[in-house]
Amino acid sequence: MSAPIVAIKVYLKVWGALLLLLALTVAAAYVPMGEFHLPVALAISVTKAFLIVFVFMEIKWGGRLLHLAAIAALLWLAIFFVLTFNDYLTRDLPSALVR
């Protein structure tokens, strides 16, 4: 059940990749992309989170139960967002919330 002890090099590589992605996300904020700002920023954040969860949090070596717990967290967050926006995007809203 416990994860193997990994070479330091692996952690250093992930750390380097995280700092590169940080530089990338800052650089992307200065590139005119119109509507694509948010998706690009979120894609980079998701990649960073994935690296942290996979290697630093050892999900890569975790059992199915841990995978399930991690996926459940994301699933419930997704339900939260989808059901909330299902309401806000389709219902008649008070004028203050309409663009």
């Binding site: 002890i5 330091i8 952690y11 940080l22 841990l66 991690a70 663009r99």
Partner: protein, 216 residues
Amino acid sequence: MSDRRAESALSDQFESVEQQHGADLFGMWIFLATEVMFFGGLLVAYAVYRHAYPHGFDLASHRLSVVFGTVDTAVLLCSSLTMVLAVRALRLGQRLPSIALLLATATLGCGFLVLHGTEYYHEWQEHLVPGRYFQFEGPHLTEAQLFFWLYFALTGLHSFHVIIGVVLMLVLAASVFERRLDAERYIALEVSGLYWHFVDIVWVFLFPLLYLIGLR
């Protein structure tokens, strides 16, 4: 010796150290799932209002310092590295390096808090704290105030988690020093590491959502 240690590391309700280890990890992951929902509430509020007032949010975000935000993120990413290395060192029985790495993690956490405190101080001076002294040029005052309300709620809740993490690191460093944690009993360290990385991940999302919106 190692047999007796393994004995004492095992609580009564478990069959084996392996089973106990799995239960500890599972418990932490479930806790982190509830933390996702905890931050999720504020993130949904953020998403709803940003969708409603995109322009006001862009203008308000431009008042935050990208330099500070970038350094904040880099500091937390480095602290995640020292955290994994601390767990690794303890598992290899390297007691003093593990303590040093835990103290480094706590120091980086404190560094983050000092940086963020400095930002709060600037925002206070620039009248960006929501309330009766809030000031914002142009027609988007209410919307900007809403952005700053969410900014302080999200970063405040996050910083509170960092404070807990720093205290946790100091307690763990003391435990390793007193040999209550060692190469066989490292689960408390590993589980605390999961918490620390989670706090890091929250910031990885907060940084672009708060500091980098709208074209700079």
